[in-house]
């Protein structure tokens, strides 16, 4: 028996395959693209390439993420909140923790006990504090989003971007650049803005002082951002490269 977890987010779709003993056999990411159904098909093809043709009775699948309905062959659809909690416990151990997941269009903060959700909050309708904000603003700076973190770590000034709204923040960046601000400082301003917004959301949790705070989702390989976020919330935020797969891992655990 194999267990497959598929997490179709707004920008990327993550897949994790687990063995009978719940060890991770393989994981891969494909861009979601314009349609989560299309992404679902590409994942199916990729799975066949990697595992060969799997007879239906030999695997079970749970899908999650905003495109979870697109995986028609999944036994069950579970929300990303539950899956990220399970996945975070798999990666960072059981016990009390707070999970921060920064996704493409949703950011969530979740209090978790042994993989079970105690409480959660999600950002309201707007894109502030989400991956979308980073994507738009790094586009404005003409750099790929992955480079923001390294760039920001070389800042010479703690530049603040005051607009929370993505559209206004974009024009703010344009005018700051026009005044000669360096890319490094602007990158700092962008990451700082996300950390600020996320820490406000974090502050809504009833138990903000839990010893373990983990970051899952797309920003798990942004060490500078993690230090910014740790400063803002006053707790050390840890992460791991596999944490971007937390949702898919949680889904596979529940398959």
């Amino acid at each position: 028996m194999r267990y497959i977890g598929i997490d179709i987010g707004s920008t990327s779709a993550k897949t994790v395959v687990m063995e009978e003993d719940r060890k991770i056999l393989c994981s891969f990411t494909v861009p979601t693209g314009w349609s989560s159904f299309d992404a679902g098909k590409r994942i199916e093809t990729e799975l066949q390439n990697r595992l060969g043709k799997l007879p239906r009775q030999d695997f079970r699948c749970v899908s999650t993420g905003y495109g979870r309905q697109a995986v028609s062959w999944a036994e069950r659809r579970v929300t990303e909140i539950t899956c990220h909690s399970r996945g975070a416990s798999f990666l960072f151990g059981d016990g009390l923790m707070n999970v921060i997941d920064i996704g493409g269009q949703d950011t969530k903060v979740i209090s978790v006990t042994a993989g079970k959700v105690d409480e959660f909050f999600m950002n309201e309708k707007c894109a502030a504090g989400t991956g979308k904000f980073l994507e738009v603003l790094s586009g404005r700076l003409n750099i790929p989003p992955e480079e923001l973190d390294l760039l920001a770590s070389h800042h010479t000034k703690e530049l603040v971007i005051s607009s929370m709204c993505t559209v206004f923040a974009e024009s703010e960046v344009v005018s700051l650049a026009g005044q000669g601000e360096s890319k490094e400082n602007l990158a700092f301003g962008v990451l700082h803005s996300v950390a600020e917004k996320v820490s406000t959301l974090y502050g809504r949790l009833a138990e903000t002082d839990r010893q373990k705070v983990v970051l899952t989702g797309g920003l798990c390989s942004y060490p500078f951002f993690q230090s910014l976020l740790s400063d803002k919330i006053g707790q050390k935020v840890v992460s791991a490269p596999m944490a971007r797969y937390a949702g898919a891992i949680g889904a596979a655990m529940m398959a």
């Binding site: 079970k116 959700v117 409480e119 959660f120 309708k125 009833a206």
Partner: protein, 383 residues
């Protein structure tokens, strides 16, 4: 009495009641029966009933006229206010159209200011609702009810005798008691009917003008549900969700659907579509019936009261009575009083009652269905 044949059919009829009563109102108009419109649970219907008038609820629940309303009103205003104003302005709500008098109360700021604007379109009488529930407030509210009585008498050339008022109180008490007892069918675990079906009846019953007949009909319905339950007709066991917050209906039924399509069941409504509206009885035997009426309405646990202890009392009682596994608060966007109070409600539900709580904020659009589904599904998964 056994008029009830098929439950789904009954629920459907109630769901259509608002539409079906358009004609009744027109007929009333032709027969010279005065029509008094209102927007809030604080409106003492009994005064209208005692005057031989028909009370109708004017709260709008669809986004249709919001763009028109936004020509006059700010965008970031509660959708209930925008849509109600929009329907009044565009004359698209037959109930508003046929109303001879509109009665408002000084509840939240948005509504207060809307009543001012409505007075350009209709005869509006505004009752000064105190924001506290002490004895002084009761004196003031009793006076306001008498002031309403005088205004109605003068406007329609009728006399509201004490006898007529007591009769209206009795009839309305019975109607409310029947609705309250219908709600208790949800004490069963598993539930006999869905929360959405219960909602259709509660909401539709506002548009049944014969309150006496309504009581009989609702009682028969409860009996039918109970009888079916005894013979094994019930739903499967599901996480039990109690709803609190702003008034619901129409567009915002999406929240009920999100609960019930994601594996949960709504077991009760602690809002103005439910027990906040009809859960309190007037003391029929009171020597001073005006004061008794005032007490019943002043006791409503709405967030416009400060402090608002009755909301916690009712919520706590309902959590126990309906064995709720979680409380879901639905607030309408920019509804200040409910949104501020939600921090207190969260603490009460999670700390004192020890069950999970989720607050969602929504409006009359369908644009947030995806987000609502994710939040609510995750909430149900927690249970």
């Amino acid at each position: 009495m056994n008029l009830i044949s098929d439950l789904p059919e009954v629920f459907d009829t109630f769901a259509q009641q608002r539409k079906n009563s358009f004609l009744t109102v027109k007929e009333f108009k032709e027969r010279g029966i005065p029509i008094i419109g209102s927007y809030c649970s604080y409106f003492p219907k009994e005064i209208a009933m005692a005057a031989g008038a028909a009370p109708v609820s004017l709260c709008s629940t669809s986004g249709e006229t919001i763009p028109e309303a936004e020509k006059d009103l700010p965008r970031n205003l509660c959708p209930l206010i925008k849509s109600s104003y929009g329907f009044a302005k565009t004359q698209k709500c037959p109930y508003f159209y046929f109303s001879d008098l509109v009665v408002g109360e000084t509840t939240c700021d948005g509504k207060k200011k809307m009543y001012e604007m409505l007075s350009d379109l209709k005869d509006v009488h505004v009752m000064r609702l105190p924001n506290k529930q002490d004895e002084e407030a009761l004196d003031a509210w009793t006076n306001e009810i008498i002031r309403l009585k005088n205004a109605v008498e003068e406007r329609f050339g009728v006399t509201i005798t004490e006898e007529k008022l007591r009769e209206a109180v009795h009839i309305n008490n019975q109607a409310n008691a029947s609705l309250e007892s219908l709600c208790t069918v949800m004490e069963h675990d598993p539930c006999p009917i869905s929360g959405h079906d219960l909602f259709k009846v509660l909401n539709g019953s506002q548009f049944k003008f014969d309150r006496k007949a309504l009581a009989a009909e609702i009682t028969a319905l409860s009996q039918k549900i109970e009888a079916d339950y005894s013979s094994g007709r019930m739903l499967d066991k599901r996480p039990r969700i109690l709803i609190t917050g702003c008034p619901m209906g129409g567009a915002t039924e999406k929240v009920i659907e999100a609960v019930e399509q994601n594996g949960g069941i709504v077991v009760g409504f602690e809002n103005c579509s439910g027990e906040k509206n009809f859960g309190i009885q007037v003391d029929e035997k009171a020597a001073d019936i005006y004061r008794a009426l005032a007490r019943r309405y002043l006791d409503i646990g709405c967030s416009v009261m400060s402090p608002n202890p009755h909301r916690l009392d009712t919520l706590g009682r309902m959590i126990d009575q309906y064995h709720a596994d979680g409380v879901l608060e639905m607030d309408l966007q920019t509804c200040l009083t409910y949104e501020v109070e939600s921090a207190k409600i969260r603490r009460f539900v999670t700390k004192e009652k020890g069950i999970p709580y989720l607050q969602v904020e929504t409006d009359y659009s369908q644009s947030d269905i995806g987000q609502l589904n994710t939040r609510i599904a995750a909430f149900i998964e927690m249970i």
